[in-house]
């Protein structure tokens, strides 16, 4: 019983690390820029399919291929934001139409993937998939361990970027006081565009990690909507370290529920936690009060 519990918690930590990679981009886009990009998980799925295609055609490692495609995803994000800005943000319609816009984008991505690749589950080949590292009674499958380490590195890099570099601080500034940034001579739209690009670029890596962990099909992304928003809100909207710890909490909670109650209940965990958070403490666990 104790061993089962410890194994479930450790599996949850590994899973949570991966969730952090998925939520990272949204933490920047939703938490910092206040853009409700519900389509973020759909971009993660695109990342998975890119990794799948590169793996099948050229036997490329999924993480490596996601790094190659980082610039493409970055530009994709920049383009998405430009369209969003021109159509909604400039005219002040982001609340209703902007939400529906991302919802529509998500749906289109999903349907296009179904049209091209069908609803079959796809997976990738890599030397570390299928192997397990044993530490005593503790089993650490590499297909979970590799994504966890990658996600931790990614989170650390984004954290350093946002807190140490000039552009990173500009992103923080645009979320705090747009007008002041403008008065300092910086263009808030270009800063936001840059930040949105980074947000979508992290989806490329998250997608590669997702397809290492489990086989995917186009509609898998939908389950992640609740998870990532729960994580970002629980983590206090835009705090990178908060996002990481919130992701660990969700991962552990899901793993415990899957182990002791049943895997079919796991999807409801994140959404349930999200509802409770919204009702009780909307500023999140790591957010400032008020």
């Amino acid at each position: 019983m104790f061993e089962l519990f410890v194994n479930a918690v450790v599996a949850g930590v590994l899973l949570g690390g991966f969730y952090a990679a998925v939520a990272l981009g949204l933490s920047i886009v939703f938490g910092r820029l206040d853009i409700v990009n519900i389509a973020h998980p759909a971009f993660v799925i695109i990342g998975s399919y890119v990794a799948f295609i590169m793996n099948e055609r050229y036997m490329l490692d999924p993480i490596l291929s996601s790094l190659i495609f980082l610039p493409v995803f970055f530009l994709l994000g920049v383009g998405m934001y430009r369209l969003y800005y021109v159509c909604f943000e400039r005219t002040g319609q982001e609340s209703l139409s902007g939400l529906a816009y991302f919802f529509g984008i998500m749906f289109i991505i999903e349907v296009l993937l179904i049209l091209y690749y069908g609803v079959d589950y796809r997976n990738v080949q890599a030397p570390y998939i299928g192997e397990t590292l044993f530490l005593g009674f503790l089993g650490l499958p590499y297909r979970m361990l590799v994504p966890f380490i990658t996600a931790a590195i990614l989170t650390g890099l984004v954290y350093l970027y946002l807190s140490k570099t000039f552009l990173g601080r500009a992103i923080l500034a645009v979320s705090q006081d747009r007008l002041a940034l403008q008065l300092m001579g910086a263009n808030p739209v270009r800063v936001k565009q840059w930040a949105f690009g980074i947000g979508i670029a992290t989806a490329a890596v998250a997608g590669a990690l997702l397809i290492i962990i489990q086989p995917i099909e186009p509609s898998v992304g939908r389950l992640y909507i609740g998870r990532v928003f729960a994580i970002v809100i629980l983590g206090g909207m835009g705090s990178i370290s908060g996002t990481f710890f919130a992701a660990l909490i969700i991962g552990i909670a899901e793993s415990l529920v899957a182990t002791f109650i049943g895997p079919s209940w796991a999807p409801a965990v994140a959404f349930g936690l999200l509802l409770v958070t919204l009702a009780v403490r909307p500023q999140g666990l790591f957010g400032r009060a008020g």
Binding site: L99, G104, I108, L115, I225, G226, F229, S264, L278
Partner: protein, 317 residues
């Protein structure tokens, strides 16, 4: 004068529908029109909260499915009660769900409400998948009665039911749009803080709006098991339903009760034609593309574009 014209229109449509069941003999028409009317009810329901009040609901599929599963539950618990029982009970259940979510999240920004509705849809789906009584993940076969008084076949009866539900939804939506409540809702949509300061009871109005939205969604879902005859969670909670419910008012226009009616006729007809002549996957793609196209290019919808066009011409004269 306008009021009379509206009510005459309602009665004429109802009588025309009844006459149609006696004249038409190709069952396909009933199935096709049923689908369009169901779309219309959902669009109207979504618009009461989304268009009038300005709160986006992504969980339309969840409310719809909750209505459908209320029917399934009643069917099993009461051993096949008449359809009308479900049509009355389902809106009560779904209205209460709407009220509950509203209480939890409507004090926050609209964005959180939108995400919470998505959450509720997934939680309801997980509940139904794990609830063996209503069929669980495997689904539930629905035996429809062979004979039904006054109608030649069951689909004609279902067609009449959904027609009456649609007209009821239009009446409710028009009332909410033009009454004092509607003015309050519009004030919330335009500037919630200002409305609150002017003494508009914002929370109360938002709760009314959410409850009515939930109830109408549930009403749209209640006859669904009879229509489809096999209910299973994945297709009943389908994202397509939620996208459709948003697309209808976005295409037709969100400001008035007429918008979703026009939107449903346009979108529903396109969908029926594409599904029959090409394929149902392409149909889904078309919904998505049309939705995004309208939001980016014509956010005021068909009725809004028409109104602008008319105003411009009047000014020129």
């Amino acid at each position: 004068m306008k009021l009379n014209r509206f009510w005459v229109g309602i009665v004429v449509v109802l009588l025309a529908g009844l006459a149609f069941t006696k004249i038409a003999d190709n069952e396909f028409y009933f199935y096709a029109i049923y689908a369009v009317l169901q779309l219309m009810v959902m669009g109207i329901a979504w618009n009461i909260l989304g268009g009038f009040t300005g709160y986006v609901n992504f969980g339309a599929g969840g409310f719809f499915a909750a209505g459908a599963y209320t029917t399934v539950f009643l069917h099993k618990a009461l051993d096949g009660p008449p359809l009308l029982v479900a049509v009355v009970v389902a809106p009560i259940v779904c209205g209460l769900i709407g009220l509950g979510i509203g209480y939890l999240t409507l004090r926050l920004k609209g964005v959180y409400f939108a995400i919470a509705t998505l959450a509720v849809a997934i939680i309801l789906e997980t509940l139904v998948i794990n609830w063996e009584y209503v069929g669980g993940a495997g689904g539930y076969y629905f035996l429809i009665p062979e004979k039904i008084p006054f109608f030649d076949s069951y689909i004609e009866w279902l067609f009449t039911v959904i027609l009456v539900i649609t007209l009821f939804a239009i009446v409710v939506s028009r009332y909410l749009n033009s009454s004092r409540i509607g003015q309050g809702l519009a004030a919330i949509r335009d500037d919630e803080l200002a409305a609150e300061c002017m003494g508009v009871p914002t929370l109360k109005l938002k709760l009314i709006s959410t409850t009515v939205m939930g109830a109408l969604m549930g009403m749209a879902g209640a006859p669904f098991p009879y229509f489809i005859t096999f209910v299973e969670p994945v297709s009943t909670f389908s994202l397509l339903i939620a996208v459709n419910a948003i697309a209808v008012p976005m295409i037709g226009g969100t400001m008035t009760w007429l918008g979703p009616v026009v939107g449903a006729i346009v979108l529903g007809s396109i969908q029926e034609i594409v599904t029959v002549s090409i394929s149902s996957e392409l149909n889904m793609l078309i919904v998505g593309v049309v939705l995004v196209g309208f939001i980016t290019l014509a956010p005021q919808g068909i009725t809004g574009v028409y109104r602008d066009f008319r105003d411009k011409r009047r000014r020129r004269k």
